[in-house]
Symmetry: C2
Subunit: 656 residues, 2 copies
């Protein structure tokens, strides 16, 4: 106690909400404003999700997507020659803002314009663009993205759908090889898709060429499923019931040679396979890499969902009173948000949401640069893919965690659908799975770190990675890492053990960065050592991987956390002095210290944190929470979630 009271309390900050919203909105403030203005008209969809049957709701969501398409919004990210706006960054900003509203609408929008439209755009060539893009953007042609199968989700290279080239007719014959090779969880498949981008193993002249994508018609204009195709409804889901997910089986379905999306490979009329990328693994990952926008979008949507949840929970905490504690007038109970525990539950999560917001902003800008041809080197592309994978994982886990804690912080009221948590929770749950399972994505990130995005990176599977790492010295692995280059800097910023039980520097960003970098670097070294030792001891590489897997994940997580912190710190450095900057500093400190606290055992185990300093960090977090308390309402208001979308009639309003 004494520790907290002897220090002079810093003055309370005055947040300029509109200015902070501008900081959050960043470069695409106009686009975000446009979508914010559009959304209230569709606030009723949130209620439709509860009152309509699944069939009705699917139709309603389709209508809404079409209406939004009519505004031209979905075209923003497409090339101008097909009626698009040619601005990928703006399209991500639009998608993120759309995520304040109903998430079935968002996901159906994403399936149509992002996944299906993106596959045609990125994997197809002019003939496909000319044939489909304008109709896709207008919503005239609904399609789906048929990659995942019942038996194969994460391991897409092992898909069981086969496309055999028949030179006699210049056609591909698409067939589902086993029952489990049926496409599954495919959005738009159960009802609305006329066409599918189907991923299948290409076989030409008896030779397998790996997974490629094909445009395959599914239904005629009347909606009747075409011959050779069987479609089954995935049925009721945890959430997103406005999206018609389904399964598809193909039985000898013939499509013309031109149906191959031939950006990276083609089959000539006489049945010769041609591609500029020799390695089939690399070719496959190059194709997949072009679809990275989906991951970036999901991560951004997750951050938006977390913002909605926090807005409701913080506002509720500023209104709801419980138990008299003598801190208010007699007869008045204490506001929930004045309880230390309530602050502890919500504010580090608020800080983390801000952190992920800025990390997402950096990611979206890298995406824009790479896909707009502003950055053209191969390395930038690989770093983008790794960053997209990692940010998506952290952002979607954040959403799950924040929404759950926010709902619990609203007690019984949080359980009523009208207060939004029900749908937020159910709809976002699958974000952790689709566009890549989070754990699998972090494995990819870990693989990249361990192989330093080597040119053969994309070719390496888990076992390849194990063997590669085991074959080089640990020092070599480390020297290649970016963090290693910062090592001296790390050592300088970290306190010696001797003076580490003062609280000096606890709020110094360079201390935070040094801790995050130390963790990342040390974890990479640890994994490399473990992999080597395992292989050297004669263990099967698969078994080695299985045993080291959680360390690979932790390493990747440490890496992404470092990127997140850097993004936050760098953003703050660009801001003008003032209370808004101080407020963001406060959040950044809270994010950094609560992240260190969550990993305190590891830091202690590795000699980077004394037990005294660890305790001080915990105390400091309590202090930071008390400093956030007076501005908490402003900090969520700055997210600028349109009031109509908050619903929560009883939970919003009240004292700020």
């Amino acid at each position: 106690m004494a520790e907290e009271t002897t220090t002079t309390a810093p003055p309370t900050l005055t947040v300029d909400v509109a200015a902070l919203t501008s900081v959050l909105d960043g470069k695409y403030a106009d686009m975000r404003a446009t979508v914010r203005e559009l959304l209230p008209a569709y606030a009723s969809v949130l209620e439709d999700a509860e009152t309509m049957t699944s069939d009705e709701f699917r139709e309603r969501v389709r209508e809404v997507v079409l209406e939004i398409a009519a505004t031209g919004a979905p075209g923003v990210g497409f090339p101008e020659e097909y009626g698009g706006g040619g601005d990928i960054g703006a399209s991500i900003a639009a998608f993120e803002t759309l995520a304040y509203g109903d998430l079935s609408v968002l996901v159906k929008f994403g399936v149509q314009f992002g996944l299906f439209g993106g596959a045609i755009l990125q994997l197809g060539t002019k003939r496909h663009h000319d044939a489909y893009l304008a109709d896709i953007i207008s919503g005239k042609l609904f399609g789906c993205f048929a990659m995942t199968e019942t038996g194969h989700g994460s391991n897409v290279q092992a898909l069981g759908t086969i496309a055999t080239y028949d030179p006699a007719t210049s056609e591909f014959v698409i067939t589902t090889s086993t029952h489990d090779a049926g496409k599954d969880y495919i959005g738009n498949a159960a009802k609305h898709a006329e066409v599918a981008a189907v991923f299948a193993q290409l076989e030409v002249a008896g030779e397998g060429q790996g997974v490629h994508a094909f445009v395959v018609p599914l239904r005629d204009k009347s909606g009747k499923v075409l011959p050779g195709i069987r479609i089954e409804d995935d049925g009721h889901k945890m959430g997103l019931n406005g999206v018609d997910n389904g399964r598809i089986w193909f039985d000898g379905v013939r499509v013309p040679r031109e149906a191959l999306l031939n950006q990276f490979a083609d089959v000539t009329e006489d049945g010769t396979y041609v591609s500029e990328i020799e390695s089939s693994g690399r070719r496959f990952f190059t194709m997949l890499g072009t679809l990275v926008q989906g991951r970036v979008s999901v991560g951004g949507a997750a951050v938006s969902a977390a913002k909605v949840a926090l807005t409701i929970a913080v506002r509720y905490g500023l209104q709801r009173r419980q138990f008299e504690t003598g801190t208010e007038d007699p007869g008045t109970e204490q506001l929930l948000l004045d309880y230390g525990l309530h602050q502890r539950r919500l504010f580090p999560r608020l800080a983390r949401t801000y952190a992920l917001h800025f990390a997402q902003e950096v990611l979206a800008s890298r995406l824009h640069d790479v896909f707009s041809g502003i950055t053209t080197d191969e390395e930038s592309r690989r770093l983008l893919e790794s960053r997209a994978a990692g940010t998506k994982a952290l952002a979607t886990w954040l959403a799950t965690d924040v929404i759950q804690e926010s709902r619990e912080a609203c007690g019984g009221a949080g359980y009523l659908s009208v207060n939004r948590f029900a749908a937020l929770k159910a709809d976002t749950d699958v974000f952790m799975t689709f566009e890549g399972d989070n754990h699998v994505l972090l494995q990819l990130v870990g693989k990249g770190l361990l192989t330093d995005y080597a040119s053969d990176f994309s070719d390496l599977d888990q076992l390849g990675m194990v063997k590669f790492v085991a074959s080089v010295a640990v020092e070599t692995v480390l020297e290649r890492t970016r963090v290693h280059k910062l090592l001296q800097q790390i050592r300088d910023a970290l306190p010696d053990r001797d003076d580490a039980d003062t609280d000096s520097g606890l709020l110094d960003p360079s201390y935070h960065l040094a801790m995050f970098r130390f963790r990342e670097e040390h974890r990479i070294g640890g994994v490399a050592r473990r992999l080597k030792r395992g292989v050297d001891s004669g263990m099967n590489p698969g078994e080695v991987f299985s045993r080291v897997q959680d360390h690979v994940i932790s390493t990747a997580r440490a890496h992404v956390e470092r990127l997140v912190l850097e993004a936050f710190v760098e953003k703050i450095e660009t801001l003008e002095e003032g209370d808004n900057k101080l407020a963001l500093n406060l959040l950044c400190d809270l994010y950094a210290l609560s992240s260190i606290e969550a990993d305190a055992a590891w830091f202690m185990e590795h000699g980077r944190l004394t037990t005294q300093r660890s305790k001080q960090i915990t105390r400091e977090i309590g202090d930071l929470c008390r400093r956030v308390r007076p501005i908490a309402g402003d900090l969520v208001d700055s997210f600028a979630v349109p009031a109509e979308l908050l619903r929560a009639p009883a939970l919003i309003g009240g004292e700020r």
Copy 2:
């Protein structure tokens, strides 16, 4: 790596599933078997929850509850003279088993027989028992339990519904004082309840006597709401949409004097208030204490829900393959459950579920003893209330955590409603809130620990607790605790720091118990010191509480974790030697070590864990998971969830 391979692997255990089920079923195996046989007939309700409208589903659930009532099952816990079975322990076992099925059915069952029936039984006297119990047990009379208000959930003592005694007519006049004093989230209120047990502030001759319960008719036989009463539907909820929750406002509703449930207090005809319990606070907590069965029931149901989720996830992990790793035949991908990370995600949770199962068994048996008059001392009753509060909190958080991780471990398939996670997740979410918010419950537990269940325990609110603890020496607080008495034992079992970097004793239950006890005792002392320091520094006690609140919660949690571990260890000691006992030992070690690992930073900060030993614990957990792997299928099969209730057509079956 080397560490793991140099030790000789212990032989794989052979689990006798039927025998392990018997151990889990315990004393009430017959009752559990009866309910298991009953449930498959209602498996279709799980599907109805998805396909029916809320209105239809509510009626369906009501029917099912009536059908189950017709079997006599709900009466088990009621006195024999009213057609009951007089066996409280059996009724808890029945409820826990019923929780394998649809949870709307369970909760409606709980509202009718547990909450409403329990209030009549425990708070009423013969006149109420004679008038209502038989009809309640048969389901002829549906009722509700109207305690919570929109404005007051956790702080029930501050309810705003008023019952004024009118001596002129010998009636109570029930009135909702403000809009926010409307009863809220009341199960059965929106549609089916004819009668309510209403909690209101009793006012007699102008004097407030605190909260009491009254039987108040809500609807006539035709279902029409009676004059002076307004009922509103709570609308769609995150889950449990088969239960008709609603709000109730009373406007001068008159009920006869006999409507007061007068077990602990009465009003004479001439308007004199009489009670054998003088303190109004104590009277109130005595009344609440009789309703503890609800908390015990919810905790048990939560453990059952976790079992269902784990059964599906583990079975899926034994069937689903992903990526070739070279550990299987060429062309065969590796089973999910053979991945180290997958084991790490599921097995500590499996272990914890077993631990909570046995903790719940002890709790239910204490409940039985206290409420059957086998144990009659006041202290046992208080310990029961504390244990019920703590176990409910840990069990319901367990369910939320286990269901979420299980769903994620099933990937996209986990998102389909047919695989049960959707409903499990949505339905159990509110378990953390109803029957007492988990954090508030742990505060109660903490208060009890800090005041050693002093005779004035029930009278103390948070501030009273702060002042009480601040007024006595920390040593006094500690000396009173039970754990303190075990202190020498603790010291003996804990290794000295010097030899603590060997892995000796890591699997010794007495080491685990000593660590858990040390943590509890040290935490109690820490909170007491903080409270004293805060008050001594002149801070307002409310502010002191707010700042120490998270420590109070951690202390309570440490206490309950210790009870859970003791229950598990003691259960195992009673078993015959053999592989089943070894399997439970394995789970107990895994539970204990992963619990210590989760709190490793704290143990290190407090000098009870060296960094070396902390790392060894992490390695040991990996080893334990690998030893659980071959028996994981058997360990979930032992829960004996009826196959019909697992649904999950694609996820179950496969290799064990």
